[in-house]
């Protein structure tokens, strides 16, 4: 690392810096990843997450090109003999040419950047793709990328390169989102109208990201229009949404507010018999995004972002007074302050809050006079502070360093019982607390025109502190043989780690390069899942005296090549990843209430590895755009206490995974798109034999995940029709068809018994349950 700084000794005579923001002229919204190029000296850069750029060049007069896909290019002649601050407003071309662009990346960025395994898709393009039940979802779109797999039919959960769903760091305006799903995973919490863009790191993640071993999904919310008021919304098959944005003080402060709610429960209500004992049952979810930002000057800016969303499942029967309410959801907030020390030195200071809660509230007895109430809750809450510095000492170096600190509060499972006259809270003492901290430094160093090296190092620490009671179990996990009390603030367990990351790019030609990357990360928090799919009941737990931090190491190498003047972008990547200290529930563990017990007493730990090959071909512009992603991969696990210690395939081990995405602009008003996916069937564990004990049938299961279900494949189509488009009013319809040829994809297999053993008619049959048949959806969108 030091070497890079030493190399940063100026070899040029006199240099100055050109810096500023690049924005949308209409909305004042900063553009992320816009390009600044000076052709004379073959140098350039792009804007960061805040739309800021900085380029240091030898003194002189240059023709500088500012460009961003989907915007009109601007050229300016600039004389640089002192530091120049220049903000550029670009005009969107969307209205004029109708050209569809798959990615907002600059030309050859995929080939020239040292970054590897990073994916981006413009939100505008996502909105054109077929949407499941009419809900545009960025999480479903990223599953179409190579190396990324869906957690299940219609599920927004994802697996990256054989890693578990808890190994993905999902950030919304830098705040961690712990459960990014609504409705058991069928919809994500991200309302596409409020989203500006995202980046997904499948590997080679820079040092500023940490805490997860598989991937980082960094999502940015729109800032809000600085120039004029804007309203956008839609009425869809299952939900309605509305977004409003505009200036509070023109060019200085703006706001964005966005909301969404499903309405199946409301639509169904008039049809439910008023006398029905279940009339108060229902299900809905809603979410809201809020963003405020204030620009003090070109040097200081403050952002406030918030997200709140909730799913509520209600079941009540007036007959017997049994009621159950299951609410769960996330609350997220972030306050950020961008400050420019100079045009080469940029700091972002952030305060973050993130909260995920899950509850089951069961009551007996009629109405308000419930005689018995049982509330079970679990969740995680974070208070997070982060300071990130960007320093661009010369065009050849981009240095980022900083620190972060998180205070975690885990609620593994608490129980509260209320009866007529007593209230028992069995939970408080079972919360767990952890301090997580890291410092990091990374440098993106252009060694020569051909060679670029990114090197980063992250030093991280995790300390679990009291108040905490450790219940020590006997060999059968049956009785407590000891208890250890930790006072408030007392250290229960502490872990420290150095996490290196290196990416190397070597250009073979202006349009082709070879890249390699290595990273080693630690993850201090774990998601324990009792189920074979991801559910909101899954529990976040800290590393503790029993649970060691997860360790991930990934090696990847890739070849990148662009053809026909950037019309086609292609890449081929190979990766190998190994993971240690993964956790699972022990065989037969059914932790009930954590009373005199700890959740992690029921975990077993093991290792995993995965390797694969990813092929990606993208057509970037023209009337027909789209991509093909293909992944050939294998991922398996080994736990001493599971599957008799034998290696078994991970539940999301898929040999082949193919995604094809096409968008076609028929004319200015009409576009069509199609998505086709094919994946090797999921693994599952099935019984192979049975025997009888005490007259009951005992099912003898085959090796873990040894059975593979039928392959999954599906075609979705959609048409977007702009019915009216003026400067002040835009209205469009989106017609989507999910699973066009009605493929019955396996969701799970179960066995059914029929007949009677005593007359010889007893029979066992296998049934496959498929979730979604062909499903059309219509959404009407408007904007004014």
């Amino acid at each position: 690392m030091l070497i890079f700084f030493l190399l940063n000794i100026s070899s040029y005579a006199q240099k100055h810096t050109l810096s500023g923001y690049i924005r949308d002229i209409e909305t004042g919204e900063e553009l992320l990843g816009a390009n600044i190029n000076i052709n004379e000296i073959k140098t350039g850069t792009s804007t960061n997450l805040y739309g800021f750029y900085s380029l240091t060049v030898p003194d002189g007069t240059y023709e500088v090109t500012f460009s961003f896909i989907g915007y009109q290019e601007t050229q300016k002649t600039i004389e640089i003999n002192k530091d120049v601050n220049l903000n550029i407003d670009l005009k969107s071309t969307a209205f004029t040419t109708g050209e569809v662009v798959v990615s907002g990346e600059r030309n050859d960025a995929n080939v020239n950047s040292s970054r590897m395994s990073v994916e981006k898709i413009a939100v505008e393009d996502i909105k054109k793709l077929p949407a499941f039940m009419g809900e545009v979802d960025i999480m479903k779109t990223i599953q179409l990328l190579p190396g990324v797999q869906a957690a299940g039919e219609g599920n927004t959960g994802f697996y990256v390169r054989g890693g578990g769903p808890d190994q993905n760091l999902i950030l919304l305006d830098e705040a961690t989102v712990y459960n990014a799903s609504h409705l058991f995973g069928f919809f994500s919490v991200f309302n596409a109208d409020a989203i500006k863009g995202f980046e997904l790191y499948k590997g080679g993640m820079p040092a500023q990201y940490g805490g997860r071993i598989s991937s980082v999904m960094d999502i940015s919310m729109n800032n809000g229009n600085m120039k004029s008021y804007d309203f956008e919304g839609g009425i869809g098959t299952i939900s309605t949404r509305l977004t409003a944005q505009g200036p509070i003080v023109k060019d200085k402060a703006s706001f964005l507010i966005s909301g969404r709610r499903t309405y199946i429960d409301i639509l169904v209500k008039p049809f439910v018999n008023k006398e029905s004992p279940f009339r108060n049952s229902g299900y809905y979810f809603y979410d809201a995004n809020l963003k405020l930002n204030y620009k003090f000057s070109d040097k200081d800016r403050i952002y406030l972002s918030g997200y709140y969303g909730k799913d509520v499942f209600n079941f009540s029967s007036t007959d017997d007074g049994f009621g159950m309410k299951i609410p769960w959801g996330n609350g997220i907030g972030s306050l950020r302050w961008n400050h420019l020390f100079s045009n080469k030195f940029f700091v972002n200071t952030t305060l973050l809050f993130s909260d995920y809660q899950f509850q089951t509230d069961v009551s007996m007895g009629s109405g308000e006079e419930s005689t018995f109430r049982l509330i079970q809750s679990s969740g995680i809450r974070d208070y997070h502070f982060k300071q990130d510095f960007s320093f661009i000492p010369s065009p050849r170096h981009t240095v980022r360093f900083g620190s972060e600190y998180i205070f975690h509060r885990f609620t593994p499972n608490t129980l509260q019982i209320e009866t007529e006259d007593t209230e028992v809270d069995l939970g408080k003492s079972q919360q767990q607390y952890g301090h997580e901290a890291a410092i990091y430094l990374g440098d993106d160093f252009t060694v020569s025109e051909k060679l670029t090296i990114y090197a980063g190092l992250r030093a991280s620490a995790f300390i679990q502190v009291g108040e905490f009671t450790r219940f020590v179990k006997d060999q059968y996990r049956l009785d407590n043989i000891d208890t250890i009390q930790y006072a408030s603030g007392e250290i229960v367990a502490d872990y420290y780690s150095l996490e290196p990351r290196v990416n190397v790019k070597y250009s073979l030609s202006p349009t082709s390069s070879v890249k390699a990357s290595y990273m080693r990360n630690k993850q201090y928090i774990h998601l324990a899942s009792l189920s074979a799919s991801t559910l909101p009941t899954d529990l976040w737990v800290p590393s503790s005296d029993l649970v060691k931090p997860q360790i991930g190491a990934q090696y990847s190498i890739g070849y990148f090549r662009n053809f026909s003047d950037n019309l086609f972008e292609t890449s081929l990547q190979i990766y190998y990843k190994n993971m240690d200290n993964l956790i699972e529930y022990a065989d037969g563990a059914l932790p009930m209430d954590q009373l005199n017990d700890n959740a992690d007493n029921y975990f077993v730990s093991g290792t995993g590895q995965s390797y694969g090959l990813e092929l990606f071909i993208k057509k970037r512009y023209g009337n027909l755009t789209g991509w093909i992603g293909y992944t050939l991969s294998k991922t398996d696990r080994q736990f001493d206490e599971i599957n008799e210690g034998e290696i078994f395939p991970a539940k999301y081990d898929r040999r082949h995974d193919l995604s094809l995405t096409l968008s076609y602009q028929i004319n200015e008003k009409l576009s069509a798109s199609a998505v086709f996916v094919y994946a090797t069937g999921n693994t599952t564990t099935l019984p192979v034999a049975r025997y009888s004990i005490n007259g009951e049938i005992i099912e003898e299961y085959g090796p873990r995940n040894s059975y593979r279900m039928d392959p999954y494949h599906r075609l979705d189509l959609s048409v977007t029709w702009i019915t009216k488009q003026t400067k002040n009013w835009e209205s469009s319809w989106n017609f989507s068809i999910y699973n066009v040829y009605n493929r019955k994809n396996p969701y799970f297999i179960y066995f059914d018994y029929e007949g009677d053993a005593s007359d010889g008619t007893f029979q066992t049959s296998a049934k496959q349950v498929s979730l979604f048949p062909i499903l059309p959806a219509v959404t009407w969108n408007f904007k004014f």
Binding site: Y476, D587, T685, V688, K767
Partner: protein, 323 residues
């Protein structure tokens, strides 16, 4: 947690009313043969063992009914085919007691047990506080296990509660003192005299329980339902549902034997895992719990358990009825 999970499974499937089901054929690998041992030794009784093996998941099941005209050989053959019964006089099986006395088990038809065809030793009689080792040689392989008969705990009092709006049927209850300072594990079985032949666990309710929260306290067990005959497991359309009352509740006037047994920790763990297995097997949203057997050997399952049994006999009359 488990219920929540189950509820989710129900919601998942019910919300998505679109979901559909198709009959499929799954190609399951042929399983390796597994030896299943169900053995027990009870206070005052000879050791008794059932042996069986696993059978393919899709094999038909046909349990013949036993009556006077049945040919024993035919019945054995049918049980072998359908339930994997192993009833073979060439199997060498012994029980060794604490004083190293070795007793050999021989095939025995026992009408007081299900499925009637097991192996019994004639000399060893179960005694509290003694440990017993079981050895089996089957198809050239050795299997063994060891258990202990813990001290029995006796029932102090028994009562009867009529079902609501019913003056003939009801449930029993009993209480006893848990011995302080010792970890105790219990099983409960009942038998209605002149109606049932074998002791079995109650129709609903705990068969196995322990004193984790109640060490040294008075333990009350209620409602105690009638025992389950264990014969109609393969009946999915059983009339059992119709005469549930007759099967699950005690009739006023009948004479009932209640057997409270003390068991060791391995037996407790086995039956607990057995119940967990029944709750998780077949649920596609969970990983099935496996049985935690105390039989040692290659590819086997089951239990060798000692029962420190205490039996109380009561006739349900007015003196037992609680207010």
């Amino acid at each position: 947690m488990k219920t929540t999970l189950k509820i989710f499974a129900i919601i998942l499937v019910s919300i998505f009313i679109f979901s559909c089901e198709t009959d499929i054929t799954v190609d399951l690998p042929t399983p390796e043969e597994k030896l299943i041992v169900q053995g027990k030794i009870e206070t005052g009784e000879n050791p008794f063992i059932f042996l069986s093996r696993n059978i393919g998941y899709f094999e038909p099941v046909n349990i013949p009914e036993l009556d006077d005209s049945s040919d024993i050989q035919e019945i054995i053959q049918a049980l072998e085919n359908s339930m994997g019964l192993i009833y073979d006089s060439t199997i060498v099986m012994t029980v060794t007691d604490g004083s190293n006395f070795v007793d050999t088990l021989i095939p025995t038809i026992n009408f007081f047990e299900f499925p009637n065809f097991g192996y019994q030793a004639r000399n060893i009689v179960g005694q509290e506080g003694q440990s017993y080792r079981l050895d089996i040689q089957y198809k050239g392989k050795d299997y063994w296990s060891e258990t202990i008969i813990p001290e029995a705990v006796s029932i102090d009092s028994i009562w009867f509660d009529f079902n609501e709006d019913n003056d003939t049927l009801g449930t029993l209850g009993f209480l006893y003192m848990d011995p302080a300072g010792i970890r105790n594990f219990y099983t409960i079985e009942t038998l209605v005299v002149d109606e049932q032949f074998a002791y079995n666990p109650p129709y609903y309710g705990s068969y196995i329980f322990d004193d984790e929260q109640l060490d040294g306290d008075t333990i009350r067990y209620f409602p105690l339902l009638k025992s389950y005959d264990g014969n109609d497991f393969f009946q999915t359309n059983s009339e059992g549902q119709n005469d549930f009352n007759q099967k699950a509740f005690y009739e006023f006037g009948s004479t009932v034997n209640i057997k409270l047994s003390s068991v060791d920790v391995a037996t407790f763990i086995f039956w607990t895992s057995f119940i967990k297995h029944l709750n998780t097997a077949g649920n596609p949203f969970t990983n099935p719990a496996s049985l935690k057997s105390n039989i040692v050997g290659d590819n086997c399952d089951g239990i060798w358990a000692g029962y420190g049994a205490n039996i109380k006999t009561v006739t349900i009359d007015n003196s037992l009825v609680r207010e």
